[in-house]
Structure formats: structure tokens, C-alpha cells
Symmetry: none
Subunit: 409 residues, 2 copies
């Protein structure tokens, strides 16, 4: 069962506005076992909309259209759908009643009559929170539904009317299960190499996505809803975890700082952070988690050398001898941070985020991370690729991952 | 001149991931006078991609494809494009050299060779911040370009290589002018009220978009490229600025930290930051600007009361008497930060980000911001709405804006 979502609105094509309607709809469709194969965004142009609907009818079974059913001239969806499906537009008494009811005592703008037009044979979808009604039309085994473009109206109409209609129509068919594993520390090609056999299998299907700070592995099972499908999902996940070990840090959108925070709480441990090249990014991420004051005690952003010496007591001659970006300075920062804050863990980071400041010996992307614990200090040397923002994000992610690995070891 | 943007990636079709690549691209295209007529999102399916490219070739002049050119099994764009355009895929020596160069001394995974395949006759687009090269192919007057799916790589490649190629190819045609003004400190309805007459005009068209940390005003002129069009744009901008005064902090995507950084450089002034509720967010934003070490000296994240006393010398009894979230503590933090760091400015922030920790007297969203200068300390009391993340983002933005307003006063 494949679906296409068509969203209309010129604001979606001129930048600035991010399309969230199709994200909501594809998530909801997946939930009832319908896979979105295409999304198409068209402007407020009747011919383009006709084109999009015609193409969708040729390649999918379910077509959801959002937007273009308001009372203004540039609302073009009704006419386009009627033309492609070769239906007349008729004034629906029920729709007209519903539209008028919204206005109640208020002055009723005559242009609103237009919103009560639906293709002959279509079934009305009520609008629980707005004016424009939607509709559903099933023709030649293609399920076509039209929803408003305003997100709150679209969501309410989907949940109250369209979702039940879809479940009734496609009831008892396949369910899609989905799980995403997030990894840290391996490149996309390395993950690809490690699980290439699993990536080739069809059921469940496994895919990779490289994001700025993680490589994600998606497991999607199109099978039935029974225990067998669940167990093949679980078996595939277990196989992947076996190959990738503890590089898998979370699932289904969990952030690294969430995982680290939960582990610190569990272990009743506290953390302080000394940042140079990340400038506060690690602290900002840790404290974005509600309740982080239970384990995050303090941080220092020692951007200048004077700050490293004054706030952490890193000896000026150590910095002089090895450079601010060095294993020795990272180590001293972590140890001092832990001691001064009297926390269980002291995390420190110093590096060259770029774009300038690199040398042949110490290129942009060179980052030292140190973790001080009751058992001593561990330091890693990292070389990150990318822009200043990417180097900083990858540095912060890798530093948090170092804490995670220590806590699960 | 009409364009279609095709984005590939199953994660864009199963919910969860919001597509921002096509937003960036349609904005950039508009900027050089090319209107996006369609956006199509397809999964990691070679046949669906072929389908999408074939349809795009029939209805637009410019086709941009993002994603699906990595080294893994599910990267399907190259083959699909080659098939539709009836080209062989050839191993480009230049591409192979570029791919290998990224790995330098590191172990080179053989799967990466695949990334050097491009359709015969295509022109290579270098990847300034990653591995996968893109390419451009002009055939039957259709301009087809392929970019990576990782946003940072896509953006860098577009800016450095594709945009110049597009400008060269389509140079001198109709121009759409567009300018966005960013404001801080006013609600969307307040901005609406202040410029309602200007919002009604048609040429240039003016629109509003509320974002998390700013209300944006868009000015779009579809007219010719001559001096007349430029002067109506400028007149409209001047009228808006007259109504909104210094709440307009930047234009066309400038970030507050960029503006503040440029002002600090200009005035040869330095800054240190003491953060509580924002946890490092302000420092992270300031240091995301290359060259910020010229004006940013240090920061402290004084999350616990002990940290406030130990790192800043805020008297424990002051905290005891007024609470950590108080005007008095904010003031002391700013003064101490400025003195200890020996900077021109000391910025401090303390507040309740939520969701818990609020009381009837001190509700979630209450945030004190203080700025210490040679002339004394200014403190503001703010009440921000929204989630924890929103309260923190708005706090950081408002704090930076306080520095900006001081520097331009």
C-alpha cells in the first residue's frame, strides 16, 4: 500500500516556511500501515495541481492533498481534483450548513459558499476546528482525500475523520514497524562495511542515513502485525547491535545528552565541563535536559589562555610548552575541573574549530578530549572534518559519547 | 524559469525528519531569479527516483536533486539519473582524487570509489566540507544538478559551486528581489499592528513569519532588475525600519551573534558571560562565529549555587536572601564576571527554564539578564513563554540583543 502526499501553497516553495504537514501525515500513515512513497509540493497553480494529482493516480493507491480549499481565489484544489477525476463540483447542502454554522451570529462572507463545493460522489470530512470541510473520494480503487492546509485544522480533521475512514477502508491490512538506531564514532562507509550483509536483506528492510553527528540505521518491517514480525525486527536489531557494539548510543530520536543524563542519574554521579573550542556547546546540550541540575554542577568556557590559568589553574608554562591545543592541556583541564567542582567526572575539550588557526602539525579539526574520573584521566586525539559548526558539533557529540562509554563500561 | 527540487531519503517519508534542504534551495534559487514550481520527495528507491527525474524533465527547466550519492547500497541517485538521461556512469579521475584526498592518511574504505562515478559528460561539483562530489549535466536545455543530502555539505557545495554555475548559465534573466528583516523584542501581532499599512501593499509584497527567536519581515519584488525596482525595495525597507526602530537587528539570515561580534570588533571591546539557566548556550552561539576569540574572553556556567559563589564570588547570603533567580544575583554575576575577566562587558543570565522549578512568585519563564559596563550595571526582568528549549533560546537571544543595543546606543 503506497501513498503520495500532495501539499499546496506558494509559501512552501519560496523558502522560509518549513513543511510540517507532510511530516505529520507520513508519520500517521505509517502508523496504520501505509507507506508514503512520494511527497509533492506544488504552488497555488491549478494546472500544476492537476498535473500532480494525475501523476499520483498513476503511481500510488492513496493520495492525500493538503491545502488549497479556502475561500480565496488562489485556493485551487477542488477544481483540480474534479477535473482529473472527471467529476462535476456540486454544492453540498451539508457542507454549506457546516460552513455557515462556524460563522453563527457573525457576518457571513458570501465567498465562503465556495468552500461547500465538493466533487459529485465525494464524502464530506468535517472540520473540527475551522471552516473549510475536506472530502474523500474512492474511484478506480484509488483513495483520494483532501484536507485543509492550516496545520491545526489538518491534524484535527485527520485524527477525527480521515484516520477512521482510512482504517475502515484498509482495515486489517499490513502494519509497518520502524526502529532507528543512532551510532557515534563510525563513518557511514564503516557502518556500511560492518553490516553490509544485513543491509542487503529485504525483510525487514535496513537502511543508513548519515547525519551531522551520527550515522543512523533504520529497520522497517512491512510484514503482518503479529508476534512473528516483532521477532524478526528484534532479531535484526540484535544482529546489528552485535556487529556495531557500543557505538549504538540510542534509538528513535534519543539525543546523546539524554542518554548521558539518564546514566549519570542512574549511577548517582555528577559532572563538570571545561570547554575551549566548543565554547559552551556541551554545557548547553547537557542543560537542555529537564532535571540536569541533579548531575550537572558547573562549566567553564576557557576561551583565552588567561582563563585556562585563572579558572582552572592550568600552568601558563604548560600551555607555553605544549600549546593550548594539546593532550597535556586537555588532561590538566579535566583533572582541575573535576577537583575544583568536586564532581565525580571532569570533562575537558580543546581543539581547533577553524576555519583559520590551523598549522601543518595542528590542523583544523584536531581536538583533544579528556575525561577525569576517580580512576585517572583518559585523553583522546580526534581529527574531525567539516565546517567550524560541524567540527564543534562533532566534538561535543564525541565528548558526550566518551562520558557515555565510561558510564556503561 | 521554473525549477523542481527532488530530495531523496526514506527518513523524509516516514516522519520524524523535517526536510530543510529544499527550503534552503528554494530560497537560494529565488534569490537568483529562479522560481521553484515543484518539490518532490522520494525514498531510497531507484525506480521511484527515475520516475521523479523523468517527470521533472517534462515540466521544468532546472532540476536539483539532493541526497542518494553516498557510498552505501541505498544511494541510488547516480544510477537513476544516468538511466533517465541515457548516459553511462564513468569513473571520474578528478572525483576519485577528490574523494581520496579527504581521507588523507586515514584508512580508505574501498566502497568510496562508488562516489567518484558520474554520468558521462557531467561536470563535477566539488564537496568543500565532505566526501561525495556532486555534478551538473545540461542536456536538451534542461539543467540537472545533483547535491549531497547532508545539509552542511549540500549548502557548502551549492554556495561555492552550483550557485556560480547557475548564475553563469541563466545570467541576466528576470530577477526576483527579496530581503528579510529580523526583529527582536516584539510579538508577531505587535509587528503586524505597527506595519499593517505596509503589509497590505502589493509591490513589493511584504509578509511576516514568526520564528522562535525573531519575527521576520519579508519584502519580495517580482519586478525587473533595474534601478526602479531597487528603489521601491529600498523605500519599503526604510518605511518598515522607521516604524520598528532598533528592534530590527539584522537582514537576510544574519544571526544575532554575528551582529554582536561585528559590533564588538568595531568598538574594540571584549565580553565575558556568566550563564545559569542557558547553561552555555550564549557562549556556544558567540563562539560559533569564526574569529570570536578576538572579543570573547571566557564564560562560566554557574549551574549550582556553589559554582556561583566559587567561580564568581556571589555571596552565599545574597543567594539565600533573594534566591538564585533574582535581579540582585544577576547584577552581582555580571559585575563579578566583568571584573574577574577584565573585559569591557560582563553579561549574566539567571532564570527558570522549566518545565518544573516554578512558583507563583517566580514562574517558569522568569529570566533576569544583567549587563555590566564601565558605566554600571543594567538589569532586565523578562517573562518568556514556551517549552524549556524555547525559554532558553529566547533568553539567549534577548541577552545578546541587550549587548547589541548597548553597543549601538
Amino acid at each position: 500500500m503506497r501513498a503520495e502526499i500532495i501539499a499546496t501553497g506558494s509559501e512552501l516553495l519560496s523558502g522560509g516556511v518549513v513543511d510540517t504537514n507532510t511530516v505529520f501525515l507520513s508519520e500517521e500513515l505509517l502508523d496504520i500501515g501505509i507507506e508514503t512513497a512520494f511527497k509533492t509540493i506544488v504552488g497555488d497553480d491549478e494546472k500544476d495541481m492537476e498535473d500532480a494529482v494525475r501523476i499520483a493516480r498513476e503511481r500510488v493507491d492513496v493520495i492525500l492533498v493538503t491545502g488549497g480549499i479556502g475561500p480565496t481565489e488562489d485556493d485551487i484544489t477542488r477544481r483540480a481534483i474534479a477535473r482529473v477525476l472527471k467529476k462535476r463540483l456540486v454544492l453540498s447542502d451539508d457542507a454549506l450548513k457546516a460552513v455557515k454554522a462556524v460563522f453563527k451570529a457573525k457576518e457571513y462572507p458570501a465567498a465562503n459558499d465556495r468552500q461547500a463545493l465538493i466533487p459529485a460522489g465525494a464524502r464530506l470530512l468535517g472540520n473540527p476546528v475551522g471552516v473549510a470541510p475536506g472530502f474523500v473520494l474512492v474511484e478506480d480503487e484509488k483513495f483520494v482525500a483532501v484536507l485543509p492546509g492550516v496545520p491545526a485544522e489538518m491534524q484535527a480533521m485527520f485524527r477525527e475523520h480521515l484516520r477512521p475512514a482510512l482504517e475502515e477502508h484498509f482495515g486489517g491490512k499490513a502494519v509497518i514497524r520502524r526502529k532507528v538506531l543512532h551510532t557515534c564514532g563510525l563513518s557511514e562507509s564503516k557502518v556500511n562495511e560492518l553490516i553490509q550483509d544485513i543491509l542487503k536483506q529485504k525483510r525487514p528492510a535496513v537502511g543508513l542515513t548519515a547525519r551531522d553527528t551520527s550515522v543512523d540505521i533504520r529497520i522497517v518491517a512491512h510484514e503482518g502485525s503479529g508476534a512473528r514480525s516483532r521477532s524478526t525486527m528484534e532479531r535484526t536489531e540484535a544482529e546489528i547491535r552485535k556487529k556495531l557494539g557500543d557505538t549504538v548510543y540510542g534509538v528513535d530520536g534519543q539525543e546523546m545528552e539524554e542518554i548521558v543524563g539518564a546514566l549519570l542519574l542512574q549511577r548517582k554521579m555528577t559532572l563538570a565541563v571545561a570547554e575551549s573550542c566548543t565554547g559552551g556547546l556541551i554545557g548547553a546540550r547537557i542543560t537542555n535536559i529537564a532535571g540536569s541540575s541533579a548531575y550537572f554542577e558547573r562549566g567553564v568556557v576557557v576561551y583565552s589562555n588567561a582563563a585556562k590559568t585563572e579558572l582552572l589553574g592550568v600552568p601558563a608554562d604548560l600551555i607555553e610548552r605544549h600549546g593550548a591545543v594539546s593532550r597535556e592541556v586537555a588532561k590538566a583541564m579535566a583533572q582541575e575541573m573535576r577537583e575544583r567542582a568536586r564532581t565525580d567526572l571532569g570533562l575537558a575539550i580543546t581543539g581547533i574549530a577553524g576555519p583559520s588557526g590551523g598549522t601543518p602539525e595542528k590542523p583544523v579539526g584536531l581536538v583533544y578530549i579528556a575525561l577525569a574520573t576517580a580512576g585517572g584521566v583518559t585523553t583522546t586525539e580526534n581529527r574531525f572534518l567539516g565546517t567550524r559548526t560541524q567540527v564543534r558539533q562533532r566534538s561535543a557529540q564525541t565528548a558526550l559519547d566518551m562520558v557515555r562509554r565510561y558510564l556503561i563500561a
